[in-house]
Amino acid sequence: MSQSTPDKDNQTSGAKKTISLPISRVRLIMKSSPDVSSINQDALFLTTKATELFVQHLALTSFTNSSGGETNTLEYSDLAKTAETIDTFHFLTDILPKKILARDYLKSLEQMQDEDADF
């Protein structure tokens, strides 16, 4: 259960070091959900920690999946691709929509209209 790596041993020095995101802000976000009445301290801590793990996981997954190794930059399109292609990140597709050029959009709109005209 508690196999501790050297990295984790350092964290035992204080609760402050185990998480870097502000607990109060995470609580505010959680409470903005109308069904939630109260959250205990452990649940709040775990959600905060999970959010940090999620940020790391999303960033790393998007970076390793990205084709742009030559620029060495994580771009928005890498994140949109992750949301689209990896199941666990599907819930992000609404806030990470794939960007398309206006002319491509107009073209696809035209195509759709053509198809409609066939009927």
Binding site: D42, L46, K49, A50, I95
Partner: protein, 150 residues
Amino acid sequence: MAERPEDLNLPNAVITRIIKEALPDGVNVSKEARRAISQAASVFVLYATSCANNFAMKAKRKTLNAGDVLAAMEEMEFQRFMEPLREALEVYKKDQKGKKEVSEQKRKDKEKKIDTDSSKCREEEEPEEEEEEQQRMEEEPEEEEEEVEN
């Protein structure tokens, strides 16, 4: 309750640091990507909260607890987070317990001091009291955080 929509954002500086730590050295993150990850993190909190709340409701509880959050991670298919989360929670609980013991010990010490102080002369007493006061002030903000339920 959140007053402004910005209140639901997580602090950019912290998010940026977490991203940097996760990626190999020398990797840049575009401004747009940083903003997107930050928004994704807020959505993740809401999604996790909603899942956890379902578990609490099923069990007819009003307060979300650690088990609900862990169950939510499983449901969201983030099983990979469960082990690190359990470990972090252990450390956190130990710290909280340690803090409580320290403050209890201090209170006991103070009580003892007051008993002995009554036999001491006045000049000696005052500087010590001031020191105690300062220690208490340092402790208080941390203790406030413990009371989340309402």
